[in-house]
């Protein structure tokens, strides 16, 4: 007994191959965890913060059919698609549902002149400069980046908004182009054959001289 006290037990033979297997798997595991955990798909897509007012785009833009630009009226002129001021809401809500508890924050803002603090859903890094006007005036629909907002009760982020995703469209813009008059019609789809659709998209591409830049300087300054 005492003699064997200093001899490694049998299972210790497994230590070396075990360590080798662990050493082989651990880096792979780490890479996968990081790749999955840090990808915008994981971190950003589906981001759906609670807003101070339970505003339903499905009701306003979908059911009631209000144009996006009724509220986001700077989208054709400015880089930002401005969140509407409280007064825009109150154009209607001084008449409709004015007693609702849901719009109480709007009344507070309307009366005090202090803004409603909405939570930003689609958030690009500060070194990326996206310009709404440049896309919307040339026939890229809201739906291409924001998805079917007109069906969302609470807005969430549908696309990754990652650089690779931006570049995908800048490389192959065709399927995102349409008549600029139709950009806010989120439900619109082309009706016709594939060839007809390709010709339609190509027409708008050529007419607007759309040749999207893939230079860094297009978005980063």
């Amino acid at each position: 007994m005492g003699r064997y006290h200093y001899v490694f037990p049998g299972w210790s033979n497994l230590l070396l191959p075990g360590a080798l297997v662990f050493g082989a798997i651990a880096p792979l595991y780490a890479v996968l965890v990081v790749a999955w955990g840090f990808s915008p798909k994981t971190t950003d897509v589906g981001y759906q913060p609670t807003q101070p007012v339970p505003f339903s785009h499905a009701l306003h833009a979908g059911e009631l059919g209000m144009d996006c630009r009724y509220c986001h009226n700077t989208v054709e002129r400015a880089a930002h698609a401005a969140i509407p001021p409280t007064r825009t809401c109150m154009n209607c809500h001084t008449q409709i549902h004015k007693e609702s508890v849901n719009i109480q924050p709007l009344w507070d803002s309307y009366r005090s002149g202090l803004p409603v603090e909405w939570v930003r859903v689609h958030d690009l890094p500060d070194y990326a400069y996206f310009n709404h006007a440049a896309h919307v005036t040339r026939g890229v629909s809201c739906v291409s980046c924001h998805g079917r907002i007109d069906t969302m009760e609470v807005v969430y982020q549908q696309e990754t908004l990652s650089m690779g995703w931006c570049l995908e469209c800048h490389r192959h813009p065709d399927q995102h182009l349409r008549d600029p008059a139709l950009v806010t019609n989120l439900a619109w789809t082309f009706e016709g054959t594939e060839e007809e659709e390709a010709a339609y998209r190509a027409f708008w591409k050529e007419l607007h001289q759309i040749n999207p830049s893939q230079d860094c300087s297009t978005c980063h300054r």
Partner: protein
């Protein structure tokens, strides 16, 4: 001193500094290593090992924090509750306004981003600036966000508020009204504001026994007195350098310190564009003590002590006007001694030139020269027929002389005759003449009220302090140098509830109308004679009241005072003369600081850090001495000197500056503030302590001794020296003439494309496969820039404009010392020295070369080839772009940039700010990076950031982008405009490229350039200004032998010396040339009007 002709064949040699001339080890170190040894080390005890330990621990801990699910924090969008009509969030809006400095207003456009003023430009509708602005105006926006600004009303140092003050004032001034202002005094800054003048009249009506004083440390008392001597009443000279063929400057810095410099620079540059068929340009002679920008741009410059300028003026006047002017000096050997050698020869040339250009020459006199010199100049201009042509006058309302005015106030204060003293702006405790002992005086008044931006030297000595509103926060008005009336409107509500002088006065006189807008409106309607709302709106929109410049007059000068004036000058000059004090005395000259003005901008980080255009000194003021003087005193740069003038003395560090007269020390004002601001504390020396009311601009008989102390002075003159030696294995002097190309006008006439032949480019092909997908001809646009060295005067406004536009941090003195300044655009300054005994003599500067250097945007960019992560690449328009989010900070690109235009952010300078400690009075950046880093950049300072430009963090390389945000905006605008065209129109144009009109994009530097030296545009468009400039015969590419194909090109400088080749006796040359010039002038179409 190195020997002549080390391989230089052009006949010109250029030196960045005396260290360069002497080839000291320090200079070589700076040249060979863009960042000196150890530049990347941390500055405190935290060494590399310690750093790794900390970083390792941080990494380990970072894992624990990975529980959040989003990469960046939740962000709120805060829209308006009720958005004003026509306001789109995110679209910047510009408003016309005006800023008053030294009693002269300049018209500006203030750009606001979502309500925050972020950028100042010149107002293009203002007839004086025409879109240009100086450094002070550019940097003014930073003062608005200065965290050291006074934030509240104070009573005896304790926080109070405006209503408390207003209540107190109502009671106190109610009693004063009963006494009709007996024992009351007001001390105001100079102001041209019609509203303030109206308010002053009102004040004196209500308080008839009160006295109103005015004081500016940099005033034009002497100019006014000179005009009074000449014309019997005060007049202001309105010079027109554009029309003058010959300009003689008598100690006048009309391109630098003058309050109308923006316009003078434009006019002067216009007179030097020798581009038409006749190829004529003006010629500038400068006789001056300090090395000013005017001297740097002169064709002939001679250093003369300020006290001896009188001799030159008298000599010229004796020959041009009447020999009486020279008579008192005739027998004086001392005067004769001034006019010897080269100076005498140049003066003879100048005289010949002046007489050959009657009616198209100009003599300008410095504000610091005595009234009699101004008189002589007025008489000379009249005798030469210049009045009404190159110089005209505008009558000036009677104004008290500032030095007399403050002396009268000081006397009354000292006698205890003042019960209530109101100080409206200004800082007399800091900048009043030293003999008045002003700091002790406010205590002798019963009650003192101070209105000011800071709780400064004066405020701490007053009973009440009212925080003043910045000009971007308040209503105002003012007149430009020529009288053009501008309106000023607020861009933002007062951040700290400050009040303007108008609003304060309205309370003091007990007016019902205390609102700034109402006051300015009232004055405006009085001015135009009627309540014309439409004109008010128009003037407010344009920023100027159309045609409101004063009418110019051409008064006849009175010659009767000539003899007396000459006598007085002679007496004064021999009394003041250093020669009378046994040859051992020194002259001291007090000068406005080129970037700090009178010290009021001392707490402005941009203006502290932008190098002085001539000395390249930053973060300091110092005694400027010539190399000969330094030799005599046995000192080097940074030695502490003791200067004694009369019974006053102070100790200050010495800076050795070539091109100063013998036995003359130049003392720039504006340093050594007593106010404990985070920028100005410890920056420079306070030379006001030597400045007395008898000698406001210069004084003789000072003594200077070496104390043995040392003080660290930091200049950027050797930074970013283009290291041509290692590029091409050739001598630096062989290459510098190809970097800065210039020729005399004579050579240019015979050899118009001289600039193309300054360097020999043997090949246009590279040994390597060139990566050139982006040459002009491809892509939609090809951006390029051309800088006309013949127009540029080197004022440096472009540097500040660039800093404001592109969120460029300041780094602090200690970091500048290590070559880490962040300016994307620098202005290189070279001296040319005269040879003597086959050596270059550092005491004789023959010429100065000034060259702005931004990124060259090389098509074949060396930086791109070495970046391991492709963080610097080309875009289709040919821009060399820097991708901050890719950069990992290897600095290889900077190492490989032949122009040395890349800047590395070592320490997140925005976040740190230039906080400092002061061991041994030495200005030092707080080095304790790990422990004292504030969490965020100062919130106030953040408000200034341009949202269109990324705020770079540490570890990232950055450089000039040609203001890519402006290019992007113009491109998007053009494409949107195209997309919004009717369908049929689009069908027609769809095969043509979408044009961006020439001039739609102006980088910040080009926009503010008073000389209009910088042109930017599309090289694809053959008619664009930049394409034409590139085709110009004077156009050249810096370091073109490297085959980098730079997009930024230069236009060579021309000089117009009286005697081509310059030398001892070139009288013949001058005579030969003058008639030729005269002919050209008659036949040519270069007369600008």
């Amino acid at each position: 001193m190195p020997p002549l002709n080390d391989g230089n064949t052009s006949g010109r040699a250029y030196w960045r500094s005396l260290d360069h001339l002497a080839d000291t080890p320090e200079f070589r170190a700076f040249m060979h290593r863009e960042f000196p040894a150890g530049a990347s080390e941390l500055l405190d005890s935290t060494d590399r090992r310690h750093f790794l330990k900390i970083m390792g621990a941080s990494m380990a801990l970072a894992g624990l924090g990975l529980t959040g699910c989003r990469r960046w924090p939740k962000e709120e969008i805060v829209p308006y509750a009720g958005r004003p009509e026509g306001r789109d969030p995110g679209i910047p809006v510009s408003y016309a306004t005006c800023m008053e400095l030294g009693g002269v207003a300049c018209g500006l456009l203030a750009t606001a981003n979502d309500g925050r003023p972020t950028k100042i430009e010149g107002n293009d509708r203002h007839p004086v600036g025409r879109g240009a602005a100086d450094s002070f105006a550019q940097a003014g926006v930073l003062d608005l966000y200065d965290p050291d600004r006074s934030r509240s009303v104070r009573r005896e140092g304790k926080r109070a508020d405006w209503p408390t003050f207003a209540d107190w004032a109502q009671g106190h001034f109610g009693q004063e009204r009963e006494r009709r202002g007996h024992g009351m005094a007001v001390l105001a800054e100079a102001s041209s504001s019609p509203s303030l003048l109206a308010m002053r009249r009102r004040f004196l009506e209500i308080y008839p026994n009160a006295s109103w004083h005015e004081y500016e440390p940099l005033n034009n008392d002497n100019e006014v007195a000179g005009a009074e001597l000449a014309f019997g009443s005060p007049h202001r000279a309105q010079i027109d350098p554009a029309r003058a063929k010959v300009i003689v400057s008598l100690d006048a810095d009309f391109l630098g310190a003058h309050r109308n410099a923006v316009r003078n620079i434009r006019d002067f540059a216009a007179g030097r564009r020798a581009d038409d068929a006749t190829k004529t340009m003006n010629r500038l002679y400068a006789f001056e003590s300090e090395f000013t920008l005017t001297g740097a741009n002169a064709d002939h410059r001679h250093p003369v002590r300020s006290g001896d300028i009188a001799v030159i003026a008298a000599w010229l006047a004796g020959r041009i006007v009447d020999e009486q002017a020279w008579r008192p000096f005739e027998e004086d050997p001392a005067a004769g001694a001034v006019l010897t050698g080269e100076l005498r020869a140049t003066l003879e040339h100048a005289l010949t030139d002046l007489q050959a250009h009657r009616g198209e020459c100009l003599i300008v006199t410095g504000a610091g020269q005595p009234a009699e010199v101004h008189l002589l100049a007025h008489l000379m201009n009249e005798a030469l027929g210049n009045v009404g042509r190159t110089i005209a006058f505008t009558p000036q309302p009677e104004q008290a002389k500032h030095s007399e005015s403050i002396r009268a106030l000081a006397d009354r204060l000292a006698d205890g005759k003042i019960g209530t003293l109101v100080i409206l702006g200004g800082n007399p405790a800091y900048n009043a003449p030293a003999d008045l002992d002003f700091p002790a005086l406010p205590g002798k008044a019963g009650v003192t009220i101070h209105l000011g931006d800071y709780y400064d030297e004066t405020a701490t000595r007053c009973t009440w302090h009212v925080n003043r509103a910045h000009y971007l926060e308040t209503w105002g008005d003012g007149r430009a140098w020529d009288g053009t009336c501008s309106l000023g409107q607020p861009i933002i509500e007062p951040l700290f509830g400050g009040k303007s002088a108008l609003e304060l006065l309205a309370v003091l006189v007990g007016d019902d109308t205390t609102d700034g807008q109402a006051i300015v409106r009232r004055t405006f309607f009085d001015l135009i004679g009627g309540e014309d709302e439409a004109r008010w709106r128009r003037a407010l929109h344009d920023g100027v009241l159309a045609n409101s410049a004063w009418r110019t007059v051409t008064p006849a000068a009175d010659r009767s005072g000539l003899a007396a004036a000459a006598e007085a000058l002679h007496e004064a000059s021999s009394a003041r003369s250093i020669r009378t004090s046994g040859g051992r005395g020194w002259e001291v000259v007090f000068r406005p600081h080129p970037t700090l003005y009178d010290g009021r901008f001392a707490n402005n980080g941009w203006l502290q850090e932008v190098p002085d255009p001539m000395t390249k000194l930053t973060w300091d003021t110092a005694v400027l001495l010539s190399p000969a003087a330094a030799g005599e005193l046995g000192i080097e740069r940074g030695d502490v000197l003791k200067i004694t003038l009369g019974e006053r003395s102070l100790e200050a560090a010495a800076m050795i500056q070539p091109g100063l007269p013998e036995r003359c020390a130049v003392l720039p004002l504006g340093g050594g503030r007593g106010f404990e601001g985070r920028i100005c504390t410890g920056a420079g020396f306070d030379f006001y302590r030597l400045r007395t009311s008898e000698a406001m601009s210069f004084a003789g008989g000072a003594t200077i001794t070496k104390t043995g102390g040392r003080y660290e002075l930091v200049t950027t003159q050797d930074h970013h020296t283009i290291d041509v030696e290692t590029i091409a294995g050739r001598s630096i002097q062989q290459r510098l003439p190809s970097q800065f190309r210039e020729a005399d006008l004579e050579e240019y006439r015979h050899h118009p494309n001289f600039a193309k032949h300054r360097t020999h480019v043997t090949h246009r092909l590279s040994l390597f496969e060139e990566n050139l997908p982006h040459q002009a001809g491809e892509g939609d646009y090809a951006w390029g820039m051309s800088i006309d060295l013949n127009a540029c005067v080197g004022c440096g406004a472009c540097i500040v404009a660039c800093q404001a536009e592109n969120n460029i941090p300041i780094v602090g003195k200690d970091q500048v010392k290590r070559g880490r300044e962040m300016h994307w655009l620098r202005v290189d300054r070279y001296f040319q020295f005269a040879p003597r005994n086959d050596r270059y003599d550092p005491n004789r500067v023959t010429a100065v070369a000034l060259q702005p250097v931004p990124c060259m945007h090389c098509e074949n960019a060396p930086c791109e080839q070495v970046c391991p992560v492709a963080a610097t690449v080309h875009d289709a328009d040919g821009l060399n772009v820097m991708v901050y989010n890719r950069c990992i900070g290897t600095r290889y690109c900077s190492n490989n940039c032949p122009y040395k235009v890349r800047r590395f952010n070592y320490f997140d300078y925005h976040r740190r700010g230039p906080a400092r400690t002061q061991p041994g009075k030495l200005l030092q950046v707080e080095t304790d990076y790990f422990r004292k880093k504030p969490a965020t950049p100062d919130e106030l300072k953040q408000l200034q950031f341009n949202p269109e430009v990324t705020v770079r963090m540490r570890g990232v390389m950055e450089k000039c982008t040609y203001c890519i945000q402006r290019i992007a905006q113009a491109r998007i605008d053009a494409k949107n405009a195209y997309a919004n065209l009717p369908q049929a129109e689009k069908e027609k144009r769809k095969d043509r490229r979408i044009a961006i009109p020439d001039g739609a994009i102006t980088p910040a530097c080009a926009q503010t350039c008073p000389a209009q030296a910088i042109v930017f545009g599309d090289l694809e468009d053959a008619d664009s200004r930049v394409a034409r400039a590139r085709k110009h015969e004077r156009s050249y590419e810096m370091l073109e032998e490297l085959n980098v194909k730079a997009r930024t090109t230069y236009m060579a400088k021309l000089r117009n010396p009286a005697a081509p080749g310059s030398g001892e006796s070139q009288g013949d040359g001058a005579r030969d040339e003058s008639p030729a010039r005269g002919d050209a002038g008659h036949s040519g179409g270069d007369a600008p009007h």
